[in-house]
């Protein structure tokens, strides 16, 4: 998702937590440590930035909190993110997006390409965030994941919303047809 222009606001606030599609390209600096990556995109937040300084003690405590809550398996928070497995990298990305208790989260294929255990953990943490009041826009190509997580489902085809369902009354076959472009 390359923002060509404009800003996203939610409830009057500019800050929107994003779980990007490609964690390697967009979400992580692979040669930075876990602690350094824990504040990526958050470097100007009050409490992280202090005057011209970056509070590395805060970065480390945030990193420890993420590692613990999201079960990131690493020798320490001082190892380069490059050395982590894909699932652990993604748990770090999701943990970082949720650590400031955002009111709005944009999650783009948050479990793509990661193992079953990491997938379950990421999904349950997203549901917890929803239960504590966050609005989550989940964009996913995985229909099972959508059916398992979403309260409301919008099907998009060629940039237009082709259909809208509540979870209570979804029909897999209808969704499948809309995804493929057929009219209702």
């Amino acid at each position: 998702m390359i923002p060509s222009r404009g800003t996203v606001t939610f409830a009057g606030q500019r800050s929107v937590a994003v779980i990007p599609q490609d964690r390697h390209l967009e979400g992580l600096v692979l040669n930075f440590t876990i602690a350094e990556n824990a504040v990526l995109g958050r470097q100007h937040r009050p409490g992280v930035q202090r005057g011209v300084l970056l509070d590395y003690a805060r970065a480390r405590s945030d990193a420890r909190a993420i590692v613990e809550r999201f079960d990131v398996r690493a020798a320490s928070i001082d190892v380069k993110v490059r050395t982590l497995s894909g699932g652990n990298q993604q748990k770090l990305v999701v943990g970082r997006a949720l650590i400031d208790k955002p009111r709005f989260v944009l999650a783009y294929n948050p479990t793509r390409g990661i193992d079953v255990g990491a997938t379950a953990l990421v999904q349950s943490r997203l549901v917890e965030a929803r239960n504590s009041g966050a609005a989550i826009l989940l964009i996913s190509f995985d229909l099972d994941e959508i059916l398992a997580l979403a309260d409301r489902i919008l099907v998009m085809y060629r940039g237009k919303i082709a259909g809208s369902f509540d979870r209570a009354n979804v029909d897999r076959a209808t969704i499948g047809r809309l995804m493929a472009g057929s009219q209702e």
Binding site: V18, P20, L25, E26, G27, L28, V29, L30, N31, F32, E36, V39, L40, G41, Q43, H44, Q49, V52, L53, L54, Y56, R82, T83, L84, S85, G86
Partner: protein, 345 residues
């Protein structure tokens, strides 16, 4: 094979390899390596004068090397330190010859304007990169020639000292000279300024938000951009600061050693500084050590030529070899890291 690779990629291995390559270069030049190294060491560290000259070269290399270090860490290949150094030196020399005021503010003004001059020269390439997407390797390299000829024109024309034979500005009044650090040598307190700058740069990298964003942009520009880093602002700022470091270096040479500006200010410090920055692993404190090592080569090289008949050009061959060794070292280190990383998945 694996042990050999890890030895070669370590600092000790690099030193051994460089000594072996230097010996080969001396043998080709027809000198015994023992005589050559003796001359090199005596000529650079053998007495107060020699140490002074070594530290003069160390200081002259350290300013542009730190600037290059900052640019490279931001992912920008500033090859233009030579021109930035010249412009900074010209600003300092021209202003110093023109103003009349107490020495302390005069020296401060010369140094600050030297940094401004080099900074402007770096900012041109930065602006071209940020706004026009001009490749900074080409633009910084080409701006060297522009700087060289503009400064030559100015000191051979409008700014020429009519009393001098060559193309140079008027001499600075003696109370505008930077104080000497080691008595009876040419070494000025410019070296202390350079060392302070290295510590400041280390602090900026390790502790500030600007340093964090700069390193992120250098390592992963796309991730940095999506994390709210303004890449075009960072690009011109990094090249401007990088140029300011080199320009300040030029100003310290003018006020500290030359006491006037001419275009022979630098025997290629801005280019050698690229090797210095790479040898120092783009780490400001290691760059200080690397500057000293290259200072030994610069000062000792002259002595090698005089007493061991090793041509000065052999020193440049050696410097080229050192860059090659270090490039190979980085490659070996990256490969073994990748293999380790793959094993951890």
């Amino acid at each position: 094979m694996k042990r050999f690779a890890s030895f070669i990629s370590g600092p000790l291995g690099a030193i051994v390899l460089i000594i072996v390559l230097m010996s080969i270069a001396m043998l080709i030049a027809g000198t015994s390596p023992i005589d050559g190294f003796t001359a090199l060491i005596l000529g650079s560290l053998g007495g107060r004068n020699q140490i002074g000259e070594t530290l003069v070269a160390t200081s002259a290399l350290l300013f542009p090397a730190l600037g290059i270090c900052l640019a490279f860490r931001a992912g920008l290949f500033n090859i233009g330190a030579e021109g930035q150094l010249l412009v900074g030196g010209l600003f300092a020399g021209a202003v110093g010859a023109a103003i009349t005021m107490p020495p302390f503010p005069a020296i401060v003004i010369m140094l600050v304007l030297g940094a401004v001059g080099g900074g402007l020269w770096g900012a041109i390439a930065g602006w071209m990169k940020a706004k026009l997407h001009a490749n900074e390797i080409i633009s910084t390299l080409m701006l060297n020639f522009v700087a060289q000829f503009i400064t030559l024109y100015l000191v051979d024309g409008p700014l020429k000292n009519p009393a001098a034979n060559g193309a140079e500005t008027a001499w600075l009044p003696t109370n505008y000279w930077l104080p000497t650090l080691i008595p009876h040598t040419r070494l000025s307190i410019g070296l202390l300024i350079a060392l302070a700058l290295a510590m400041l740069l280390q602090f900026v990298f390790a502790r500030t938000v600007f340093g964090y964003e700069l390193r992120a942009a250098g390592e992963a520009p796309e991730a940095a951009r999506r994390s709210g880093v303004n890449l075009s602002r960072l690009t011109w700022l990094a090249l401007a600061i990088s140029g300011a470091f080199a320009g300040l270096g030029g100003a310290t040479i003018v006020t500290g050693e030359l006491h006037r500006f001419n275009t022979q200010l630098s025997p290629g410090y801005g280019f050698i500084a690229i090797a210095v920055a790479l040898v120092g692993d783009l780490d400001p404190l290691k760059v200080c050590v690397a500057s000293f090592a290259f200072g030994i080569l610069e000062a000792g090289g002259l002595a090698m030529q005089a007493s061991a008949q090793v041509p000065k050009d052999a020193i440049h061959v050696i410097e080229g070899l050192i860059i090659l060794v270090l490039a190979a070292r980085r490659y070996v280190a990256q490969r073994s890291e990748r293999i380790e990383g793959a094993a951890n998945v």
